[in-house]
Subunit: 425 residues, 4 copies
Amino acid sequence: MKHFEQNESGVRSYCRSFPVIFKQAQGAELIAEDGTRYIDFLAGAGTLNYGHNHPVLKQALLDYIESDGLTHGLDMYSLAKQRFLETFNRIILKPRGMQEYLVQFTGPTGTNAVEAALKLARKVTGRNNIISFTNGFHGVSLGALATTGNEHHRGGAGVNLNDVSRMPYANYFGKDVSTIAMMEKLLEDPSSGVDKPAAVIVEVVQGEGGLNCASAQWLRGLEKLCRKHEMLLIVDDIQAGCGRTGSFFSFENMGIKPDMITLSKSLSGYGLPFAVVLLRPELDQWKPGEHNGTFRGNNHAFVTAAAAFEQFWQTDEFAQSVQRKGDRIRARMEQIAKRYSAHKLFVKGRGMMLGINCPDGESAAQVCEFSFENGLVIETSGAYSQVVKCLCPLIISEEQIDQAMDILDRAFADTFADKQVNKAS
Amino acid sequence: MKHFEQNESGVRSYCRSFPVIFKQAQGAELIAEDGTRYIDFLAGAGTLNYGHNHPVLKQALLDYIESDGLTHGLDMYSLAKQRFLETFNRIILKPRGMQEYLVQFTGPTGTNAVEAALKLARKVTGRNNIISFTNGFHGVSLGALATTGNEHHRGGAGVNLNDVSRMPYANYFGKDVSTIAMMEKLLEDPSSGVDKPAAVIVEVVQGEGGLNCASAQWLRGLEKLCRKHEMLLIVDDIQAGCGRTGSFFSFENMGIKPDMITLSKSLSGYGLPFAVVLLRPELDQWKPGEHNGTFRGNNHAFVTAAAAFEQFWQTDEFAQSVQRKGDRIRARMEQIAKRYSAHKLFVKGRGMMLGINCPDGESAAQVCEFSFENGLVIETSGAYSQVVKCLCPLIISEEQIDQAMDILDRAFADTFADKQVNKAS
Amino acid sequence: MKHFEQNESGVRSYCRSFPVIFKQAQGAELIAEDGTRYIDFLAGAGTLNYGHNHPVLKQALLDYIESDGLTHGLDMYSLAKQRFLETFNRIILKPRGMQEYLVQFTGPTGTNAVEAALKLARKVTGRNNIISFTNGFHGVSLGALATTGNEHHRGGAGVNLNDVSRMPYANYFGKDVSTIAMMEKLLEDPSSGVDKPAAVIVEVVQGEGGLNCASAQWLRGLEKLCRKHEMLLIVDDIQAGCGRTGSFFSFENMGIKPDMITLSKSLSGYGLPFAVVLLRPELDQWKPGEHNGTFRGNNHAFVTAAAAFEQFWQTDEFAQSVQRKGDRIRARMEQIAKRYSAHKLFVKGRGMMLGINCPDGESAAQVCEFSFENGLVIETSGAYSQVVKCLCPLIISEEQIDQAMDILDRAFADTFADKQVNKAS
Amino acid sequence: MKHFEQNESGVRSYCRSFPVIFKQAQGAELIAEDGTRYIDFLAGAGTLNYGHNHPVLKQALLDYIESDGLTHGLDMYSLAKQRFLETFNRIILKPRGMQEYLVQFTGPTGTNAVEAALKLARKVTGRNNIISFTNGFHGVSLGALATTGNEHHRGGAGVNLNDVSRMPYANYFGKDVSTIAMMEKLLEDPSSGVDKPAAVIVEVVQGEGGLNCASAQWLRGLEKLCRKHEMLLIVDDIQAGCGRTGSFFSFENMGIKPDMITLSKSLSGYGLPFAVVLLRPELDQWKPGEHNGTFRGNNHAFVTAAAAFEQFWQTDEFAQSVQRKGDRIRARMEQIAKRYSAHKLFVKGRGMMLGINCPDGESAAQVCEFSFENGLVIETSGAYSQVVKCLCPLIISEEQIDQAMDILDRAFADTFADKQVNKAS
């Protein structure tokens, strides 16, 4: 451990919650140096939807490397990239009526995809302002950070974060207040002080923001507003996409058609750095190389991504299994929430992007700590880190789910069973 | 080719110069779909210092993948990361008296490392302004882009790029004008309008800016200025580092001690996305997770990076071979430049980061086009894309160098032999 | 007229509504070149609360000029300035329990006072963000303009207007929605994306914004929020202050104690350029000369301002007359609004800051045009210029009020009597 | 004095150097409460070119006030404004071939005129960036402050000052370095990082910056650069204009034709707040009211300004007297500078905008303090407040000049006669 303590910056964070050294990982399991196995309910913060080192993807990657396939090629054409484009179009986009979207390979991080989308939106519309939402998280490079809500991350900027108007997310002011109607009034009013935005950037489920969900109706209202005021609709599907909510895109069957979509995290399928922006063809007003980056051609990721599409998305089976497992997890969560209802626990999220809202960050942290000690890697999210977030690999078995939920059950018992109800909460 | 043309954004750029589909790559060679082999004088824009798919690194990576080593682990502790830290400290930092630098694992792209360094500099100093230089290139996410000089990239921002004061690089106004003295006057003068900067960010050799070189004297002057005005000195060694100039860091033996150093590109040794910021321990004022990112734990890259340190940097031999090969290339370049001296060609750069300055971008493009048709992948850089840039893998053989230089020789002949001298140039 | 048309910029605006050349003015009357007299229901947009060329103020000014009193003295001490400070403290501040407020003489325009207040708030708190409200108007120099809501004025900036979070004013979303509660949620939530503000800047009645009024309860809620989050409360009383609402300050008897107050417009009493910021002593962290300006010592304005304090504010009489006249005007307005209730006319405002809300800007403009043709100078305000605004001198006689209201009555009749009801409105 | 100390903000500054209360002023003299007379070598920081309370202007103002002439009229047409436009065009603009310039009446302060000019430049060109110069002073509202060089004033902003590129003024790096050539290189170079500016804003003599002068050649070079890069040329003639340098505009006979000119300070002739922007007709792309302000129709100032044009500018006589008096002052200054040449004193400035550069701010302050104690009001300027600045009314008599220079002579003797030469200086 001394190498980390002596040589790594104090900015490191997850390792503080899980102070062991991991050596291997398989499927839904992480294996520490000493052989201890942990069920992984963090899954790389949503990056490992198909689990760790999935054997099919692994074999595809090994074969590619063995054969000296092009590893790094800037944005040059490669067979691996061609295969990615072909499978992505055929297996993912076309069946969803989205085949006309163009793929921009950005730097291989979510924040870079967001930067690219914001730049393009401003360029195409000639406007500066971007609407982003309370509790939204879109990354921490300067352009993306301006759209991110979290003050912990914003505080790191060191300069003013500008050119963004913050709007309340769905249900931010409760079920009875339409935040769409609010935005509408602000956008209609020529004296509201809200400059006409280039775009709205929105997460369909706010992963870092605490698993807040937007309904189809809210999203359609948002899209309508976008059309009326000629703002582009950017769906940031970096955490909620790639199957996490039970469909490849989080907004499927919701009746909207985003102008741009950002994808990253689980896109490579193997945890390899990869990110893209999908964009409507008429928006593709980039000049060659205008947004560039050294690693926008990570061919290993192309290989595993294509393999993942073929493995998981040729039929509906995988999506259905996600729904089913999500229901299984949710049922157990609802039980827990009900049991400690005096503490106002409740379940949040959708598909396999679920969490239990605790009264505060301290109790949520206590749950996670107990869980880790008992073999479950799990983390919190939300404004107060108050949501215990279950973000396991989608390929997890039902046995593993049950095992993990048993640990979680005991963790909640340990935390809440004898706890005084906080009157103020 | 249709998949690219139909499904990829027009932002793609290198592929336009090299319109073939690559399938494999070995050492200093790229291999197209039809088996044609090209010598690679682009090397992933400086990412492939050890060549494509180096067998030792490849084996280390295959072994790691085979064994289900942790691929993606956020910023959790892993054996691979531990080994990276240990070898990096032992083989690279310690022998250079730099063992106290801490390593921050940022998002795995150069631009993200720059974003992190700028944020930390502003945070630590409580100042906003950053000095960056004419012709500097530091990436295209919003924070980094503000420090980048190129108007093509700046034009993509869509918003004002601020909080940066631009200063003239070494020799920008000719050999006789000390740009250090200029900066000094501007920084001393309380009414100059140049706000006290948090930091200076500088490349020792400007890769994208056209291979402009700063001398040791200039850098020491810059460091002195930094100390006097309590500005941090950030060396962006993303392109010039990792051996490119003949030593691991581009500033070795120059008598400076940067406050922060950004590394990326060739750091993984295998073309895998990876970036770090090195920082003096007293600057490590990050709160845990304040700058974060999904892929800051790319364990494959840790594995190949550690293997590369052990393979290439345990003795001086590799560094010496770079110097030697650099001399070999430079000698051929000088011949070419001399032959067409009527066109005012001249050689720029240092180590194996070399180029020939042409009178304009058109002739430089013609040289590259001819080269590609004859089996050499090579690109331009500089404000007018007027520098034909030789950025081959450092492990290239002397035979390959000679072969490549022969092609280049013919390319210059084809371009300049009968060309009218442009009187205006 | 040709001198204006040939030599003045097209930015001129009021003259377009009142295309005559004025030569003289007395009390509530403007006199054109040809002798035509107009009742003035515009009053210099709230600058002429004591009417044009009030004889007492006029004599004081004449005496001062005759005696070669200091006219311009930067921020040097002068007898006239001393008398201003003395009378202002004795007659205005002390009786209201506000004697500890310090006076900052800014450049002699409202926008400059706002600039100074915002700068000081940011300096004192070390924060950047400012909360300003929908439909707020605070001036058009760059710092103030960022807080102004109107897109017509914002569009003139030519650069991004930043460092301001826009919040909904009192009743912006209707009577049933507490915008204070909304702000509270956004400010409490560490992940809302609303950075902690240095200050809130608010008008108690929004003059340019269409005569929207904040209640005492709303203002107290706002002040409480300010205290809780350590934001300063700046009341911009430039238009609503100096007696316009029936008390010297618009917020008297509302139970709040602003940290800073901006005053201008009617402060000199004679239409002379003058502006100040009042500030709590503990906020006075200015360095000498840090905010400066050539005309911050307009001694003529000091003379007339002091005379106005003595003439109008030594007893309650004047304030009471304002209330009475306000009631008189409002009664007539209510009649008009009721008569054309099919068009959903309604009365807005407080004291002698009143207006009739028309269904659209076109009909309001028609009312004003008819009025001018019949001897009444009157203008519109509001997001759609839809409010016919009665902003007459406070010293107007009841006869003049009746005369003006008769004209207005006919103007509304002319505009609405036979007008189709706009179903869409 | 207690009213000031108890009730005025500590931002006050000039009064600290001249701690007496002034009651009257005539011509070149200020008269304190106790009857002490001071010769005024500050002249309202250049606002009182025609002296205090000039009898002819005074009579015109008294007559106007007596007759109830319109005092405040927003931007409505008035006889006084018409007369201003007519005399300004006939007496000032036409004889200088500048009759086509349009007049924009901005808020009545220099900083507001600068704000308007910058806004219009950005609006017309569609660019954000402005070039301003080292040691330039253009006001302290946020837009203007960004172009001002002084860190004391910039430090008051509380937010980042952006969208300005700072360039070295004429001779900033010594007589041998062409700062025009430097700017040219930066503007030509597409990778310099200096974004194409909307405009350049420049003072022909830098009043606050320490009386640095630009030559005709330098200005023509700057104009040429503006034309080539389609940047507008804005001359800020607020302090150097209205006769100060020996001609109405400071740039007369220099062979340039600015796109915009800002005037304020001495424009009204009587010390009354007044400012305008002059602009080429093709630039007048303002929408009505887009830049507005309550006091842009200060009719008292129109009256005295028109009277001043007629009194002083119908013949060449006044301008010639300025040159003559300037020479008289300069001769005495050169004597002083020579006498203490060991301290490297030297004379700076042009016309009647002159000063003696001292080795540091302390000695300059000592000179001013001694002078004030002996009946001369005089101040410093420059980056280090090191220039003793002679800015007396242009109507000063030769006797008063001699009297003042005698005092100054003694002040320098008192300060420097026995002073050790500062070796470091």
